[in-house]
Point group: C2
Chain length 216, copies 2
Amino acid sequence: PDAYGIIGLGRFGLSLALELTKAGKQVIVLEIEEEKLNAVKDQLENIYPVKAVTEEVLHESGISHCRTAIVCIGKDIESNILVTMSLIELGIPRVIAKATSVNHGKVLEHIGAEAVFPEVEMGERLARSLVSTGTLDFLELCEDFSIANISLTRAFANRSVEEINLRKRFHLNIIVIIRQKRAISEILPNFVVEENDVLVVGGTNDAIRKFEKANE
Amino acid sequence: PDAYGIIGLGRFGLSLALELTKAGKQVIVLEIEEEKLNAVKDQLENIYPVKAVTEEVLHESGISHCRTAIVCIGKDIESNILVTMSLIELGIPRVIAKATSVNHGKVLEHIGAEAVFPEVEMGERLARSLVSTGTLDFLELCEDFSIANISLTRAFANRSVEEINLRKRFHLNIIVIIRQKRAISEILPNFVVEENDVLVVGGTNDAIRKFEKANE
Ligand SMILES: Nc1ncnc2c1ncn2[C@@H]1O[C@H](COP(=O)(O)OP(=O)(O)OP(=O)(O)O)[C@@H](O)[C@H]1O
Ligand SMILES: Nc1ncnc2c1ncn2[C@@H]1O[C@H](COP(=O)(O)OP(=O)(O)OP(=O)(O)O)[C@@H](O)[C@H]1O
């Protein structure tokens, strides 16, 4: 069934399990440290403390019937690789595993799993958002189009959208405005923006940078 | 100057340093384990092996004059927090630090730094991309507005934008269409979409989910 098997409840595994659960997915978790499971027993349903991840345990917990399994074991690279191998041998259609180094990742890919590198990927994401706009919330969709969240300063406060004229002056589109955590998507030309409104804009990195400068 | 000070060259710090360097930024790195610095001496310019991160070292290396500093020390939480405090005391405009737990993050924010949680954020990102079939990237801006990249399947190929009628049928806005990594932002009603075009859409999570289902 469309269920997700997660092995290892470190920070990565736990965050993955909680987010999948929030999205309404069925999640089955195997973890060797019982206290980690106890800490979340009211947030996750199918949690199984195990001594080791054996084929028997994978069958009994139902993970062997999951469509996707994610191995989130960290320091114990041997277990990370061997558990991944068992999951692939069981015929689970999609097996993803956390890699702690480039070569570890190569081994995982050779045996048929997809490797993810959480720390490396976050380093890259942070670098990109620092370089482009100085905001932490930034999405570069392709070389010539990015989306950025820009919190308005007094420089633009209390002016109407048509007066600010983002499109002509900065070559940016307003995608949505977030005020007090609520989205305002129907934005008329006479809409007046306020300080701290978050403008979600789309355009080139240069255009975003210019607007950020004007907003200082 | 617009230089970046990085403290700690673990996987997160190294990836951040390399990506910033690739973007043409000046990067200064402090690390206590010399072998880690030797491994990258032909990829990074300003690398300083240190016994400990003191104010003197911060001045001598030039980090005290950086506009942004990122503390990437992991297991040694005491050093992570104290080094962060020193950077803030030195008046560095923006200090970002890697947090290993929620409470660690709260301490960092209390002292004036921005906390990042690489493993937690990657767990969330992976969950979101797993949950949304065909969705390559996803950004939740607030409870009622998210942006998702959806790669079109044959279900919608070769139809015009006005025929698909995303706004009326799915309550979604098309922000931009990405074809062969180039952005098409001026989208007229008669624009015909092709298989594998990436539609970047905005709307509620429910609306996005419905469109993803229709795109299966
Ligand atoms: N053989 C195993 N079977 C199941 N769980 C395991 C096994 N080995 C380790 N784990 C669990 O996997 C989790 C993650 O492993 P570990 O803490 O070593 O990695 P980490 O890289 O520090 O994690 P993170 O960065 O995600 O917090 C831990 O909770 C650990 O108890
Ligand atoms: N006081 C310090 N000053 C400078 N560097 C330090 C200090 N303490 C630790 N480091 C370095 O910071 C780096 C990251 O720390 P550590 O390996 O503990 O974290 P980690 O969470 O496992 O890292 P990552 O997940 O990014 O690989 C290491 O290279 C370590 O040598």
